[in-house]
């Protein structure tokens, strides 16, 4: 898939912006603080209904405006589809697909699929488990949209259960030892059923993802000249360098170790059915009851799990060098990209995600920079941002859009002149979905050729 047109209203520093796009590489270039990242953030929001920079939606709406609207014309199998989301901080977002309003905004997820690389990705390797859980769950939702609902329900059930645990802890120390908490069993079962669903989906996902990440790490980090993976084959396979394991709070409670998801045998042995997992979670909650009441927290479940990333047998967090950590972070994103395009739902065109590289080249050394550029150059559509043109690797030739103070100047070098539309835009800006789609399907052939 690719995006033929992106338009923003009252998003961050943009009152209005119209950005026509084409397959192939587009570089958004401009000094920092001018709104490059805001454009790719908006695109990411249409894809995932969340921002990669902030957890709360309020900063996304331009100061003084009530709501922001982001619209993307997504071309899949040569057909354009308009995906629109209205961001209402503090209230439910609204989404439209084509002409139809969706009953729930979350149903938009999966229409546009993006894989985003950002400087924050380093925290996937070096940071807290939360970032790795979010990485896994975001990918999960793209592969199986049903899980967006499971994830939201799990979070809600968790909040409900924690509230009940806290209220029990507050009632008095005497109550603590004195018999069961009224109604807690109900939440145990609700949470366990949802948690088991999430847990088994995560483990299945990570087992599928692991080989892609291993190959991607090899391609980014190893010095095999030119080709990908040629050097690794001689060293007994890339999976030996990079391994993913699941550290589950449930397994830990049961005295079982981490689960290596990089080997075929472990993957099959470790796949407990969902009802077994749910029963184990209920049992663990019953055993942990006293401590949970004391702390007012649910101590077991997917919200306390982690994905262990190891490099040559050692945990990457703490042992990997800065450069290796970057290679690992890139490998996770590239692995996700390859997994989505090979095993994602839908037609080959629907499976092909749009790659977004937000300011990453400036963070990388010359070798990683050119390896990454080579690896992504073949993608259907790549959007990247850079503060200075020199940060754009020479392998990624394409259109340049200059961004300055929330205005777009496009394009300065290369690219046809007629698609230059800036805030407000000339008359043909209004008919953009159709017009842009024609360009998109026509450009499909030459962009890839």
């Amino acid at each position: 898939m690719h995006v033929a047109h992106l338009s923003l209203a009252d998003f961050r520093n943009y009152e209005r912006a119209e950005l026509p796009l084409e397959p192939g590489v587009t570089a958004l270039v401009g000094p920092n603080g001018q709104g490059k990242t805001n454009l790719v953030e908006a695109l990411g929001y249409v894809a995932s209904l969340s921002s990669h920079r902030v957890a709360n939606d309020a900063p996304l709406v331009r100061a003084g405006a009530e709501r922001a609207v982001v619209r993307a014309s997504v071309v899949r199998d040569g057909r354009p589809l308009l995906a629109e989301v209205e961001i209402n901080p503090g209230r439910a977002n609204r989404a439209r697909l084509g002409r139809a309003a969706l009953p729930r905004a979350r149903e938009l997820v999966g229409t546009l699929r993006t894989v985003l690389f950002a400087p924050e990705d380093l925290a996937l390797v070096k940071g807290d488990p939360e970032g790795r859980r979010r990485f896994a769950d975001d990918l999960l939702v793209l592969l199986a949209p049903r899980l967006a609902g499971v994830r939201a329900e799990y979070d809600r059930a968790l909040k409900q259960r924690n509230a009940l645990l806290r209220s029990a802890g507050a009632t008095s120390a005497a109550r603590r030892g004195a018999g069961p908490l009224p109604g807690i069993e109900v939440w145990d079962h609700q949470l366990a059923a949802l948690g088991a669903d999430l847990l088994s989906a995560r483990r299945y996902l990570l087992a599928r993802l692991a080989p892609y990440v291993a190959r991607a790490y090899d391609a980014v980090a190893e010095t095999a000249p030119g080709g990908t993976g040629a050097g690794a084959a001689a060293e007994g396979g890339p999976a030996d360098v990079v391994r993913l394991a699941y550290r589950g709070s449930l397994a830990e409670h049961r005295g079982e170790g981490e689960e290596d998801l990089s080997s075929e045998a472990a993957r099959e042995a470790g796949a407990a059915p969902r009802d077994v997992l749910a029963a184990q979670l209920v049992e663990a909650m019953e055993q942990l009851r006293r401590r949970e009441v004391e702390r007012g927290l649910t101590l077991v479940g997917p919200h306390r799990d982690d994905v262990l990333l190891s490099l040559r047998g050692l945990p990457a967090r703490g042992y990997a060098s800065h450069g290796e950590s970057w290679s690992y972070a890139l490998a996770l994103r590239l692995g996700a990209y390859e997994l989505l395009r090979s095993e994602g739902p839908g037609t080959p065109s629907e499976r092909e995600p749009v790659l977004v590289l937000d300011d990453v080249f400036a963070e990388l050394d010359a070798r990683r920079r050119s390896r990454l550029a080579e690896l992504v150059a073949g993608a259907e559509q790549v959007l990247l941002t850079a503060a200075v043109p020199e940060d754009v690797p020479p392998q990624l030739t394409g259109r340049r859009v200059h961004v300055r103070a929330g205005a777009l100047q496009l394009p300065l070098d290369g690219g046809p002149a007629e698609d230059a539309v800036a805030g407000g835009g000339p008359a043909d800006g209004a008919s953009v979905p159709e017009g842009a789609a024609d360009q998109g399907s026509a450009g499909d052939g030459d962009g890839r050729g």
Binding site: R146, G149, R156, Q160, P182, G183, V186, Q190
Partner: protein, 194 residues
């Protein structure tokens, strides 16, 4: 004027713009019409109260449904709010009686079983007349939790306890159902006996 807009804006489903529209509409209306509305508002608070048996809205000690001898007293349908009673009554399918809980269990909002009319339900069940309990709480997380709680609580009493089915809306298209609903419909599929 500002007071009226503010009061109207506090009503559910009425935003600041609608509140203003209603206020101007009232200003332009006949004094008689406005008086009728004002009377209806004060009367509803004065005359309507909650049924002592089921918790539904009533004009007397017992609501219309609890007083109706033709209703089947052995089946009780448990709902969250009086408006759910209205919805089920519209179907004209259910001939039993109701029990209105007054909400659903939600620890976040500080609502536990003791804050709902659960004790009243237990008292009704203890009389032995009721043989079936239909749990018709909302099909969301809190409603499911409430239904499960009641089912566990009532299980030792040897009643028939049922839960309303979840699944596809009648007259709709399968392709428009969201994944969760469709998944539930698969779970709750039934044998087609022909």
């Amino acid at each position: 004027m500002q007071d009226l807009v503010e009061e109207l804006g506090r009503l559910p489903g009425v935003g600041p713009k609608s509140a203003q529209r209603i206020a101007f509409h009232l200003l332009a209306s006949d004094a008689e019409d406005v008086q009728r509305l004002a009377t209806a508002l004060t009367e509803v608070k004065r005359r309507v109260r909650f049924c002592e048996v089921c918790g539904n809205v009533a004009e007397a000690e017992r609501c219309r449904i609890c007083r109706d001898d033709r209703r089947d007293g052995t089946v009780v349908c448990v709902v969250e709010e009086p408006k759910d009673v209205v919805a089920i009554e519209r179907t004209r399918e259910f001939r039993g009686r109701y029990h209105v809980l007054g909400g659903a269990i939600s620890p976040i909002e500080g609502v536990g079983p003791d804050d709902l009319r659960v004790r009243e339900l237990m008292t009704r069940l203890a009389s032995g007349e009721i043989t079936e309990l239909i749990l018709a709480t909302d099909p969301n997380l809190e409603g499911e939790a409430t239904a499960t709680y009641l089912a566990r609580l009532c299980k030792p009493m040897g009643l028939r306890i049922t839960r309303l089915a979840s699944g596809l809306p009648v007259g709709g298209d399968l392709e428009y159902a969201d994944e969760v609903t469709l998944g539930r419909a698969f779970e709750g599929r039934r044998l087609l006996d022909v």
